[in-house]
Amino acid sequence: MKKANLILKIMEGVAFALSGLCLYYAFPDIVELLFSTTPDPVSMIPYFLMTILLLTIFFTSHALLHNASKTSRKVTLCLGGGLLLTLGAANTIYLMVLAFQGGFANLWESRFNLLYPVDSLIVSLLSDFLGAALILYGWKKADAVEFVCPSKKTMWKRILGDYLFGPLFLMISMFFLGAFLHLPWTIDRDPKNLGVTLPFYFLMVLPVVEVGLYEYLARENKDEKKTYSYMMIGVTSFLGAGIVFSIWGYFASINNPYALTESMTAYFPIDSMGSMNLGPVLLTFINLLPGLIYLLNYLFAKKKELTKKENA
């Protein structure tokens, strides 16, 4: 039982990081595809499918770890496993056909990242195996696996939190994690703008660290009081750091209006395409908004609940 959960957690973490790397390339290319006359979008499809597969692995393993009931677990297994199996098989076949038609210069033509298209092939084959395993093995053994922190939210909170804003927040965080992981190759070698760019580097990675600490340390703690104090310290600390870095970055970029366009275009691709200051705003939102919502919506309510229990 613990082994199954451990495997799911590893899968979740690895898929999160790889999804971030893929989204870093995929997202701006999707935007460009929508607004340009790019003549060859067909050969880009395996890359987008690979991104979808990795996201599916992440969301499926995350959902399996936190299903509220046996029914929802089985639905997750069928849907997730089915999606991985069908998309994985489709992408594998599509890659083979493209390769035979001369659609790739070689296995490492590196059109997106250094390993494309061989990375897409590997992920597709892995997804086929994983999809089949989730459906067959998971369906048989699903009832035996204990529930880890099943969600107790109301339906509306689940829809808004787990199915809408939560995934949006996670995907934006993934993108910036992917951008952060590319720093060794993309960071401006000229340090003249470091005073402006440094706070944004921190803002890129803070949400992921916060989510990681919550998912892997705080969430499973059975001691409610300890969990509450960890969360209170953690959320307020990250919120404080987010506010400090956001203010630092904002005023520094006002003082030097060229710094972001000189040194940060590798991380804010849409900003330059749309001539708008979207990247820093997004970073501020994902660093401040979830923490604020969590603080107001949950932690204060939890404090009341704990106080009531103590007094009872």
Partner: protein, 367 residues
């Protein structure tokens, strides 16, 4: 090659010793003896290639092959937006294709950046590393003045004096203003550098290539309308005044009207946030032509001067957009050719190139 390398080493020193300018300025003059044994030199301007992850590079290579075969350039200048959201591999691929064709058709190539060339999964100075891998590519990055792609090719006949200077000037990218970005401009220190180089070169006739258009393009376009220009959609804005005087003109502007700032009013040129004195500097220093890209469906060019009593000597305008990356008009696609003479005169041509066989066509810019 040995002779060229010798000149490369000697000319900057000689030029530096001839005047009182800082020696460091001459470091970014690249001498090319293209006039040696020839009376004319062809400079082909291509722009806004916009290669991205979805680009069919084999198809683009065939496109360039046809264009270079028809235009027969000695020097190819790209005025930016070479890639859009590119990877280092994409940049390497593009430059290696250009290098291969440069060796095939015996030309050199150079670039100045557009507003999109720094977007992508590479560090801001990657282009230096990429150009270093080519044999025929020329790129310098001048330190101490604003921007990256600022340098000059001095065309000589093997002697120490440049017959022509071909400037690459970085029109930079954006300037942040609150929540939005405005297009940047050629900065004052870059203009000063241009003037210093021209003074050092005894005011050699020169061409300037940059990415973002100058305000004077819109002025010339308005004057063309006042002259009763039969532009394709008759949008030369008759009745709207503009300073200066034009001579010959051709082409049109099919971009949408946008109000960038109060000074310019509605314009089809996506100009920078303010007017600079770049054009005045060129008028003071034997400028012959200034060409840019940026607006893919504009190809308007005109002989223009800011002095209403003067003679329009500088041709200002858009190069033809090259290839079909991002957005394009198939009727205005290809490259713009400047045929330079030893005596300082120049003729301009438009080299239309579509995709498919036998789609090259060369026309005089002003007929």
């Amino acid at each position: 090659m040995t002779k060229k390398k010798l000149l490369l080493g000697l000319l900057p020193l000689l030029l530096a010793s001839c005047n009182e300018g800082p020696a460091a300025l001459s470091e970014y003059i690249v001498p090319l003896p293209l006039f040696q044994g020839k009376e004319t030199v062809n400079v082909l301007h291509i722009t806004d290639l916009h290669w991205s992850a979805g680009t069919d590079v084999i198809r683009e290579k065939d496109y360039f092959d046809s264009l270079f075969e028809g235009a027969k350039p000695d020097l190819v200048v790209t005025t930016g937006d070479n890639v859009l959201l590119g990877s280092p591999k994409l940049i390497d691929t593009q430059l290696s294709i250009l290098d291969e064709l440069a060796k095939k058709y015996d030309f050199h190539f150079m670039t100045t950046f557009g507003n999109h060339d720094r977007q992508g999964s590479f560090h801001p100075d990657y282009w230096i590393e990429a150009f270093a891998k080519t044999e025929r590519g020329i790129y310098r990055q001048l330190k101490g003045i604003y921007g990256k792609s600022n340098y000059v090719i001095a065309l000589t006949d093997g002697s120490n004096n440049p017959l022509w200077n071909v400037f690459a000037l970085d029109s930079n990218t954006y300037r942040q203003t609150g929540m939005s970005y405005e297009y940047d401009v050629i900065h004052e220190d870059q203009i000063q550098w241009y003037e210093d180089i021209e003074t050092m070169s005894n005011d050699a006739p020169n061409l300037v290539y940059c990415h973002i258009p100058l305000y004077e393009t819109e002025y010339a376009f308005r004057l063309a309308g006042e002259a009763g220009a039969k532009l394709e959609d008759n949008t030369g804005r008759p009745g709207v005044s503009a300073p200066g005087k034009i001579g010959r003109y051709s082409g049109t502007m099919d971009e949408k009207d946008v109000v960038k700032n109060e000074e310019l009013g509605p314009s089809r040129c996506a100009v920078g946030y303010e007017r600079t004195r770049m054009f005045e500097a060129m008028e003071a220093h034997e400028g012959r032509g200034v060409f840019f890209g940026h607006d893919h469906v504009n190809d308007f060019c005109a002989e223009y001067t800011l002095n209403e009593e003067g003679t329009p000597k500088i041709t200002i305008g858009y190069g033809l957009k090259t290839g079909d990356g991002l957005y394009y008009d198939a009727k205005m696609m290809g490259g713009t050719l400047a045929t330079l003479q030893k005596d300082g005169s120049v003729e301009y041509f438009r080299c239309f190139q579509g995709y498919g066989e036998n789609s090259f066509r060369k026309e005089a810019m002003f007929q």
